[in-house]
C-alpha cells in the first residue's frame, strides 16, 4: 500500500492547500484499510479531502490496532465492574497501570503482544516486543525492573516450530539481557492451533517513587516538543494500519525486511537518560513511540492536553534522507520517546541526552487552540484536530454468534476416554506426560535469559511466580504470574478466561503474595468473524466478572486480533497477569520440597477438592489427541480463601514449599516439587481414590483451586486449623522423604528421581538441539581440541535482517490495548534498521 501512496506522490508533497483545491483527487483509502464511510468521515471532519500525510495518519489511528474499534464496547466492562481501588494511580488508557505499594513507591506493569512480527522474523519480532513494552513502563516514570514472556508455538514436532521457537527465545533473551532486565517467568506452550500464528506476549514491570509519575499531556503553550532516541527510518511503515487487518498467506516471506529491528543498547541509554530527566524534574509530558510512531505520539500527547501543536517535520533526524513526510509520520523505528519540556529547560535536557550519547531534537512546540499543524520544508502537510484521530475513531458493535460446533464439542467429554488402570500403566503414563512438550522442563528456554541482573530476583522460573525485592531495607516486594489456557477457552471462553485469572491469582498466592492488580493480553482471531467476536466478548465478560468476584481490577492490557491463517483462527487465548504484594520477600514460598529438619520428612497436604475433571486436560490431549467437554469448574470464592490461607501460612512460616496444581494435575506438581531440589515424596491415596481408575483421576485431574504444600512437623495443627477457619478442604496425603530419592504413590508405583529427571528434562534439547551441558572435566581434552578449531566468532551477529530498504514496507501488525473509556493507548510494534543483534554479555 505504501507503494500505492508513493506512486501518487508528486515532486512537492500533497499540501493542505493542494487538498483544498483538488477535492476530487482519488485517494487509496481502501488500500490503507479504511472503509468508504470512514473515509467520508475524515472528509467531514476536515471539511476537505485529507492530504496524503493526513490520510496515512487517520488510517493508522483508526485501525483496529490503535483505535480498539471492535473491542472497545466490550472492554469498558473492565472499568465498569472494577472494584474501587485506592492504590491505582493510573489505569486503563494510560501506557500502563500504576499501583501504589507503599507510602513512597509504586509499581507499573503491563503485558502486550507482538505476535505477527514474531512469526515473520522470530528474533527481531520477539526482541522488539520486549523493547516496546519496556518503553511503556518507562513512559510512566518507572525504572523497568523485570520482564516475563508468555509464548505459544505450533506443534513441537513441526519443522516450522524449529524455525520460530529458537528465534523467539533468542530474541526475548537478546533484548532483555542486553537491557539488564531479569526475566522472571512466563509460559512456553505448544498447540497446533498456533502453527501459523505463534503468540509472543511480553510483560514488563517497573518501579517508581509515587511523585515521579509521568503524564503524557502536552500542556503549556510554548513548551517544546523533543524527539529523543534513535533516528527515524523506513521501518514498519504502514504495517500497523494495513497489516493489522491482514492475515498470513504465502506472501509473508517478502515482508521479512519490514519487521522492525531492535537496538537494545540504544534502549538502555534511553532508559537511563529518561530516568535522569525525570529525576531532574525536566519533563512536562512524555510518550513512547511504538505502533504508529510519531503520528500516535503527537496526536495522543496533544489530544490528552486538548492542546494544539506545531511540528517542523524536516527537523526529525532521518536514517534515510529521502523519506516522504507521511513516511516519517508513520515510521515505527524503535527506541524513541517524545518529550514535552519547558523552553528554559531545553538546554539541560539536551545536556543529559548528550551525556548518555542519545540524540535529542526539538521538533515542535505546544500551541494554543486545537490544531495539530505539521510542516515539511515550509509546506503545510497536516492541519487536523488531534482529538479527531485519537477519540473520534469508528466504534463497532460487531455481530457475534456462538460457534456452531461448540455444542457438539462440549458434549464430547474427555471423562469418557479410556484410562490407564493399574500400576504399570500409570507409571508409564506419568513418564510420558512429564516428558510431553507442554509439561516438560523448560530449562532449554529459560537458561537463555538472565535472571540475576539487578540482584533483586528472589524467585524466577520454574517457580509458580516471579518474586522481586523492591525495597532492600524493608524487604517489600512483588510477586507476578502470567497464565492462560487456550484449550479451556476454546471449550468455554467465559470460564476459560476466569480459569486463566484463577491460575495466575493462585500462583501469586502460592509464592506468598497478596494479589492486588491484573493485566491481560487478549489473543484472538478475526473480529470480523462473528464466532471469534463471540469468543472475545465471552472472554472479556468472564475476566471482568472474575476480577469483580476476586475484588481486584484490570489496570491495563492489550488486544491482539487477526491471529489466524486463512479461515483457521487460534484458540481464543486470554493471557492474564496478576501482580501481588509481599510485605517481606524473605517469607516467599518456593515450589521445591526442601530437605526436612525432621528424619521423617515434612508433611504434605493437598488443599482444595479433586473432581473427575479431565476435559481439556493435558492428558486428554497428549494421550488421545482429544479436545472436548467442559473445562474444570472454577470457584473464585474458593480461590480467594485459598489465597488468604496461603498468605497467612507463608507469613507465619507454616510452609516450606507450595506448588499450584494446573496442567497435568497432581502428579505433575509432585514431580516438579521433588525434582526442584532432589527431595522425594511418598503419597498415600485417599480411600475414595483407590479403586479402579480412581488413582488415575486423583493424579491427572485438572480440577482448579488446588495447591500442594509441605508443612514442617509441629506446624500441622495450626495449619489445618487455619484451613478450617477459612472453610478450605485439606487432606494430609504424604511426607517428603529427605533421604528418599523417588516419587512414590503407595500401592501404585515408585519412580526414582533420576528416571523422572531424565524424562522431564530431555524433551526440549532433543527437539531444539544443544546438549544440556558440555562434557565434564574428564572429557575436557576433547572439548579443548574442538574449541581450537571452532570459529572464534566473537561479535558475529545472531541475526542480520536483510534488505531493509525494500519499498514495500509491510510489517504484519498488531493489536492495541484495552482502553475502556478512551482509545488513547496502543501497543508497540516497532522498528529499527539493520544492526546486528548483540551476541554476548
Amino acid at each position: 500500500m505504501t507503494q500505492t501512496v508513493k506512486e501518487t506522490a508528486v515532486a512537492s508533497p500533497d499540501t493542505v492547500d493542494r487538498a483544498g483545491s483538488t477535492p476530487e483527487e482519488l485517494q487509496p483509502f481502501a488500500e490503507l484499510g479504511l472503509l468508504e464511510d470512514e473515509y467520508q468521515r475524515i472528509r467531514d471532519i476536515l471539511d476537505r479531502r485529507p492530504t496524503q500525510s493526513e490520510l496515512a495518519m487517520y488510517s493508522i489511528m483508526w485501525s483496529e490496532h490503535c483505535s480498539y474499534k471492535s473491542s472497545k464496547v466490550h472492554l469498558k466492562q473492565f472499568s465498569e465492574k472494577a472494584p474501587k481501588n485506592e492504590r491505582l494511580l493510573a489505569g486503563i488508557g494510560e501506557n500502563a497501570g500504576v499501583i501504589q505499594i507503599s507510602d513512597e513507591l509504586a509499581v507499573t506493569f503491563k503485558v502486550e503482544s507482538h505476535n505477527h512480527p514474531s512469526f515473520v522474523e522470530p528474533y527481531q519480532g520477539a526482541a522488539t516486543g520486549v523493547g516496546g513494552i519496556v518503553r511503556d513502563i518507562l513512559a510512566m516514570g518507572a525504572r523497568p525492573i523485570a520482564v516475563m514472556d508468555p509464548l505459544r508455538f505450533g506443534d513441537a514436532e513441526h519443522p516450522d516450530t524449529k524455525r520460530v521457537l529458537p528465534g523467539v527465545v533468542a530474541g526475548v533473551g537478546g533484548y532483555g539481557n542486553c537491557l539488564g532486565l531479569p526475566n522472571i517467568g512466563g509460559e512456553v506452550v505448544f498447540d497446533p492451533c498456533y502453527q501459523g500464528n505463534p503468540l509472543v506476549n511480553a510483560l514488563s514491570i517497573g518501579v517508581l517513587p509515587v511523585d515521579r509519575l509521568q503524564k503524557k499531556e502536552a500542556t503549556g503553550a510554548g513548551n517544546i516538543v523533543v524527539l529523543l532516541g534513535a533516528k527515524t527510518g523506513r521501518d514498519g511503515i504502514g504495517g500497523v494500519s494495513v497489516l493489522a487487518s491482514a492475515t498470513f498467506d504465502d506472501g509473508s516471506e517478502q515482508r521479512r525486511p519490514s519487521v522492525q529491528v531492535g537496538d537494545p543498547f540504544m534502549e538502555k541509554l534511553l532508559i537511563e537518560s529518561c530516568l535522569e530527566l525525570y529525576d531532574a524534574g525536566l519533563v512536562v509530558g512524555i510518550q513512547d513511540l511504538g505502533g504508529a510512531g510519531l503520528t500516535c505520539a503527537l496526536t495522543e500527547t496533544a489530544a490528552a492536553a486538548t492542546a494544539g501543536m506545531r511540528v517542523w517535520l524536516e527537523r526529525v533526524p532521518l536514517r534515510e534522507p529521502s523519506m516522504d513526510p507521511h513516511e516519517i509520520l508513520a515510521s515505527e523505528s524503535q527506541e524513541r520517546m517524545l518529550l514535552i519540556v519547558a523552553p528554559e529547560k531545553l538546554d539541560e535536557v539536551l545536556k543529559i541526552a548528550d551525556k548518555w550519547g542519545v540524540l535529542a531534537t526539538a521538533i515542535g512546540e505546544v500551541t494554543d487552540g486545537d490544531r495539530l499543524v505539521i510542516t515539511w520544508n515550509d509546506h503545510t502537510v497536516v492541519d487536523v484536530p488531534p482529538g479527531s484521530l485519537v477519540d473520534d475513531g469508528p466504534v463497532y458493535n460487531r455481530p457475534m454468534r456462538e460457534p456452531a460446533d461448540l455444542i457438539l464439542l462440549r458434549a464430547d467429554r474427555a471423562e469418557t476416554l479410556p484410562r490407564p488402570v493399574g500400576p504399570d500403566a500409570l507409571r508409564e503414563t506419568v513418564l510420558r506426560m512429564i516428558a510431553s512438550p507442554n509439561l516438560c522442563d523448560k530449562t532449554w528456554v529459560t537458561e537463555q535469559y538472565d535472571r540475576y541482573v539487578l540482584g533483586n530476583t528472589v524467585l524466577a522460573q520454574p517457580e509458580d511466580a516471579g518474586v522481586l525485592r523492591i525495597d532492600e531495607q524493608t524487604g517489600l516486594g512483588v510477586a507476578l504470574s502470567v497464565d492462560g489456557n487456550g484449550r479451556y477457552a476454546r471449550l468455554d471462553p467465559y470460564n476459560g478466561a476466569k480459569l486463566a485469572l484463577a491460575e495466575a491469582y493462585r500462583n501469586v498466592a502460592v509464592a506468598g503474595g497478596k494479589p492486588i492488580s491484573v493485566t491481560n493480553c487478549l489473543n484472538f482471531g478475526s473480529p470480523e468473524d462473528p464466532t471469534v467476536m463471540w469468543q472475545f466478548a465471552e472472554a472479556v465478560r468472564g475476566l471482568a466478572d472474575g476480577c469483580q468476584e476476586l475484588g481486584i481490577a484490570v489496570s491495563g492490557g492489550n488486544v491482539s486480533f487477526y491471529n489466524q491463517t486463512g479461515a483457521a483462527a487460534i484458540h481464543p487465548t486470554p493471557v492474564v497477569g496478576v501482580l501481588g504484594l509481599i510485605d517481606d520477600v524473605a517469607t516467599r514460598v518456593p515450589i521445591g520440597f526442601t530437605p526436612s529438619a525432621h528424619p521423617e520428612g515434612d508433611l504434605v497436604f493437598l488443599l482444595g477438592e479433586t473432581r473427575n475433571e479431565l476435559s481439556g486436560s493435558e492428558w486428554a490431549w497428549v494421550t488421545h489427541g482429544h479436545l472436548g467437554g467442559e473445562p474444570p469448574r472454577v470457584d473464585l470464592g474458593r480461590e480467594k480463601s485459598l489465597a488468604e490461607v496461603l498468605a497467612e501460612a507463608a507469613r507465619v512460616g507454616h510452609l516450606t514449599a507450595a506448588h499450584d496444581l494446573s496442567d497435568g494435575g497432581l502428579i505433575q506438581t509432585l514431580v516438579e516439587s521433588s525434582l526442584r531440589r532432589g527431595v522425594g515424596v511418598k503419597i498415600e491415596l485417599p480411600e475414595e481414590f483407590t479403586a479402579g481408575s480412581m488413582p488415575f483421576v486423583y493424579l491427572f485431574s485438572e480440577s482448579a483451586g488446588r495447591v500442594v504444600v509441605a508443612v514442617p512437623r509441629g506446624h500441622e495443627t495450626a495449619f489445618t486449623a487455619l484451613c478450617d477457619e477459612h472453610g478450605l478442604p485439606w487432606a494430609a496425603i504424604g511426607t517428603t522423604e529427605a533421604a528418599g530419592d523417588a516419587v512414590e504413590i503407595t500401592g501404585q508405583f515408585s519412580i526414582p528421581l533420576d528416571e523422572l529427571r531424565e524424562a522431564h528434562t530431555g524433551t526440549l534439547p532433543r527437539l531444539f538441539g544443544g546438549a544440556a551441558s558440555f562434557p565434564g572435566p574428564s572429557e575436557a581434552a576433547a572439548v579443548a581440541a574442538g574449541a581450537s578449531e571452532a570459529p572464534a566468532a566473537s561479535g558475529d551477529p545472531v541475526v542480520v535482517v536483510g534488505d531493509d530498504s525494500a519499498p514495500d514496507s509491510e510489517a504484519p501488525a498488531e493489536e492495541g490495548l484495552p482502553a475502556a473509556t478512551a482509545d488513547s493507548t496502543q501497543a508497540e510494534p516497532s522498528s529499527e534498521d539493520g544492526i546486528a543483534a548483540p551476541a554476548a554479555e
Binding site: 539481557n177 561479535g795 548483540p838 554476548a840 554479555e841
Partner: protein, 229 residues
C-alpha cells in the same frame, strides 16, 4: 577501603557489583567511563553488561574509554582489578590478560548456577579461598568461551595463573574449562561467572561470591601493612 565500580554505557551489573562491595564491608565508588579520574580508589571492578552494545567484539570499544586508559596504567602499577564477564572481555581486549572470550560453543546465551574449583589463591581477589575449594556462582553469557593458543594456555597452567575452572559441566566450551585467569603479578583477575550474584542467600545460589570481594579487602589490608603486591 574504597573500591571503584566502572559504569560504561551498557553496563548492567554495575549496581550488583557495588552492592557486593558494600556487603563485603567496603565503600563502593561509582566511576564513569568518560572520566579518567579514578578518585583514589584502592581497587576497581569492571562489571558485566554489554558495554557500548558490544556490537563490535565484546569489550573492544570499552577498552579505549578514558576510565580504562587510567585503569590500564594503574593495573600495571599493581592496582587490584577484577573484570567480571564483560569486564573480563575488556581486560582481554586491553591486553591486561591473555586470550579472548568467544561465542559460546553452543551459540546460546546461557544462565545457570555453576560450580567452579578455585585453583589459585595467590591473587589479590582469591586469597580468602582455600586451594581446590569448590564454589557455586551464576554464570550468564553469550560469549564466554575462553580461547588462547596452546603455548599461552600451557604458560597459564605452568605459572598457576588459572584462577578457577568449571567443574560438573563446562557451560560455554572454554578451553581447559577455564573460568578465571590472572596476570603475572596476580593483581588483575578476569572471571566469566558472576560472583556479585552470589552474595545474599535471598537472591543467589550461595554466598560464595563474597569471597572475591573479601579477598581484595584482606589483600589491601595486608598491603597497607607493607606487603608488596
Amino acid at each position: 577501603m574504597r573500591i571503584g565500580v566502572v559504569t560504561f554505557p551498557g553496563s548492567l551489573d554495575d549496581g550488583d557489583a557495588a552492592r557486593a562491595v558494600r556487603l563485603a564491608g567496603a565503600e563502593a565508588v561509582r566511576l564513569w567511563h568518560a572520566d579518567p579520574d579514578l578518585h583514589g580508589v584502592d581497587a576497581v571492578v569492571l562489571p558485566g553488561g554489554f558495554s557500548y552494545g558490544d556490537y563490535l567484539r565484546c569489550g573492544a570499544i570499552a577498552r579505549f574509554s578514558a576510565a580504562m586508559e587510567s585503569i590500564i596504567d594503574a593495573a600495571k602499577g599493581g592496582l587490584p582489578v577484577l573484570g567480571i564477564c564483560n569486564g573480563f572481555q575488556i581486560l582481554c581486549e586491553a591486553h591486561l590478560l591473555p586470550g579472548a572470550l568467544t561465542r559460546n560453543q553452543h551459540l546460546h546465551f546461557r544462565n545457570r548456577d555453576q560450580w567452579l574449583k578455585v585453583e589459585s589463591t595467590s591473587t589479590a581477589w582469591t586469597g580468602t579461598f582455600t586451594d581446590g575449594q569448590e564454589i557455586l556462582i551464576p554464570v550468564k553469557n553469550g560469549e564466554g568461551c575462553y580461547v588462547a593458543d596452546q603455548r599461552t594456555l600451557d604458560e597459564l597452567e605452568a605459572e598457576g595463573r588459572v584462577v578457577a575452572r568449571y567443574i560438573r559441566g563446562n557451560p560455554n566450551g572454554s578451553q581447559r574449562d577455564i573460568a578465571a585467569i590472572t596476570n603475572e603479578r596476580g593483581n588483575v583477575v578476569g572471571i566469566m561467572p558472576h560472583p556479585e550474584h552470589a552474595v545474599e542467600a535471598l537472591t543467589g545460589p550461595s554466598l560464595d561470591g563474597l569471597g572475591l570481594f573479601a579477598s581484595v579487602l584482606a589483600h589491601l589490608a595486608g598491603k597497607s601493612a607493607a606487603v608488596p603486591a
